[in-house]
């Protein structure tokens, strides 16, 4: 049995099932992200773990004990919210000490723990300040310190970085991961930002409409998406609709693409071939290598900093290829180009 387990958990709001038959096992010390678009049920799931929502079906166990009906203030879960939830009437020291004060800890123990937590989030000299005197990023770090001060068994974070600006977000997510690893605390993190999820998690659970689409390591999720939703949601993926020819070939329009076809798909099944833009090379003249080659005309060229994204119209299908900034090749709008990619850059799945 895993440290934190959700078994067949469901939650309905009226007639709408926010979470359907959810199963999740989180190992002790692991960092798991629940990732998905708005309304996919990730926050509802987190709130059920915290105890703010009651599941309509299923059970939640923590360290072997069933906590499904335990009230939120007795679960030993620490939570960091998206909106700054620091108590405006208390200074930083009192905020961080709150959880210990309401549970009757000794004064000395509280003072030591507060100092320890502020050092952990590197905000030692803010103890006397009030929340409104701190920046957004600082407030979230204090919120983290406050949640960790009670030494929770599980740390829950509900889109803690959404309200912060981009630079702070990147820095702070690294901080959160650093602290999580240092303390070895089991963590469940909710986000709609896939870069966030992929960069700091041990495991990512992709959700959509209350169901788990796929759960796995960040690399697995990215390189081997198991459903079209995951493929489309994580990174950018070109989706080429075709028909299976044999175990190693798929017909895409007039072209035969070489791609590994899973044994579950028969000849003539309708499939979609997924290729990531970074695996596609663009050529001004027809390449000679023995790879998949497509040709078309450039629709758009978008400069994104580290890469330039080129969208090519291949017989009506929009195919996107990424060029590294270091590449000196120059292309123009409506230029006729060739795209090449290897067979193992392709992933074939059923056209659902």
């Amino acid at each position: 049995m895993a440290y934190l387990e959700l078994q067949n958990v469901s939650k309905l709001f009226g007639a709408v099932a926010a979470v359907k038959d959810f199963n999740l096992a989180v190992e002790k010390g692991a960092f798991v992200s629940l990732l998905g678009p708005s309304g996919c049920g990730k926050t509802t799931t987190l709130r059920m773990i915290a105890g703010f929502e009651m599941p309509d079906a299923g059970a939640i166990t923590l360290d072997g004990a069933d906590i499904t009906s335990v009230p939120p203030n007795k679960r030993g879960t620490g939570m960091v919210f998206q909106a700054y939830a620091l108590f405006p009437n208390m200074n930083v020291r009192d905020n961080v000490a709150f959880g210990l004060e309401v549970t009757g800890h000794a004064r000395k123990e509280i003072d030591d723990r507060v100092r320890e937590m502020l050092a952990l989030v590197r905000l030692e000299d803010t103890a006397k300040r009030f929340p409104h005197q701190l920046s957004g990023g600082q407030q979230q770090r204090i919120a983290l310190a406050r949640a960790l001060a009670i030494r929770p068994r599980v740390l829950l974070l509900d889109e803690p970085l959404s309200a912060l600006d981009a630079v702070v977000r990147v820095a702070l997510r690294g901080e959160i991961r650093r602290i999580q690893l240092e303390l070895g605390i089991t963590t469940v993190y909710v986000t709609h930002d896939q870069e966030e999820a992929l960069s700091i998690s041990d495991r990512v659970v992709v959700m959509d409409q209350g169901l788990i689409e796929q759960a796995g390591s960040p690399e697995e999720i990215y390189r081997q998406p198991q459903t079209r939703f995951v493929a489309a949601f994580i990174g950018t993926a070109n989706q080429l609709n075709g028909v299976v020819v044999d175990r190693a070939q798929v017909r895409f329009g007039e072209t035969i693409l070489r791609a590994p076809v899973p044994t579950s798909l028969n000849e003539s099944s309708k499939v979609v071939v997924l290729v990531r833009p970074e695996s596609i090379a663009i050529h001004a003249a027809a390449p000679s290598a023995v790879q998949n080659i497509l040709e078309g005309t450039i629709q758009t060229i978008t400069f994104l900093g580290p890469i330039t994204r080129v969208a090519v119209d291949v017989n009506g299908t929009r195919v996107v290829a990424d060029m590294a900034a270091s590449s000196r090749a120059a292309f123009t709008h409506t230029q006729h180009v060739w795209l090449s990619f290897s067979a193992d850059a392709c992933q074939v799945m059923a056209n659902q």
Partner: protein, 269 residues
């Protein structure tokens, strides 16, 4: 860039302020005048009316009684209304319209009706015609004044997130109410307390009907004097204003000490 307000507007505001202030100033002057019936300004000044008022056997008793009733009404009101409003806001939001309606009802009930109804229902000892009944009547009567500011304050603050943060840290509901919620809705609590105090202190009808002479409050003494000697009544009125004014100052001072951080925080949002 502020535009100078038009002359007409300033004139209207000045007229309105004058209209409101003149009766109060007149009362004050009357209370220190020897004689002021036919002249534009008083013929002479004296403090004898205040002296007579203080010397009256019932002066300190009625003042004390009024304080007791007003303070009790504030405390009971706080005790009942703050937790209830908080509970409805966080746990049973569907009941909020009902609570709003309930808290408006006292405005629709004339004091006479309320007093007579309560006397009828609670006609048994020890409640019959007792100060407890009077205090209860005052609490009911002043409910809207406590509820509205408290409810508005709760809406202005993100009660849900604050409550959930506190819960996740291990606090129980009472701790949350006292340590987190109350300090953050202090403006509402103070306004409510002030309004209740002022309303109940000046309340005549309920006191007259429910307890009457057995537990005289200050307004009863004041009304008695309006029939006997207007100058002493004026002195008592001035004392009444002063009490309300001092109570306001006291409440604001007490609440003001812990208020600044919350105020700034709410402003910064």
């Amino acid at each position: 860039m502020k535009e100078r307000p038009p002359v007409l507007q300033s004139l209207l505001v000045a007229l309105f302020i004058t209209y409101m202030i003149v009766p109060i100033i007149a009362t004050y002057i009357f209370s220190i005048a020897t004689q002021w019936d036919i002249t534009l300004m008083p013929e002479g000044y004296t403090l004898e009316w205040y002296q007579t008022a203080f010397d009256h056997p019932y002066f300190s008793i009625t003042l004390t009684n009024s304080f007791i009733v007003s303070i009790a009404a504030v405390l009971v009101g706080l005790l009942f209304i703050v937790p209830t409003t908080y509970w409805v806001h966080t746990r049973v939001p569907a009941a909020k319209p009902l609570l709003d309606l309930l808290m408006i009802l006292p405005f629709g009930i004339p004091a006479v009706v309320l007093a007579l109804a309560l006397i009828r229902v609670y006609s048994f000892p020890p409640l019959a015609r007792s100060p407890f009944l009077l205090i209860s009547a005052c609490v009911i009567f002043s409910m809207p004044f406590m509820y509205r500011p408290v409810s508005n304050s709760l809406m202005a603050v993100d009660v849900h997130t604050l409550t959930e943060s506190a819960l996740s840290l291990g606090a129980n509901t009472l701790q949350i109410l006292i340590r987190v919620i109350a300090p953050n809705i202090m403006p509402g609590i103070l306004s409510g307390s002030l309004l209740v105090f002022a309303t109940v202190f000046a309340e005549f009808t309920l006191a007259n009907l429910i307890t009457g002479a057995s537990f005289k409050t200050f307004p009863l003494l004041l009304v008695e004097f309006t029939r006997r000697d207007g100058r002493i009544a004026a002195a008592l009125s001035v004392i009444s204003f002063t009490v309300a004014w001092l109570a306001s100052l006291a409440l604001l001072w007490v609440g003001g000490r812990g208020r600044k951080p919350t105020e700034e925080a709410l402003g910064a949002r």
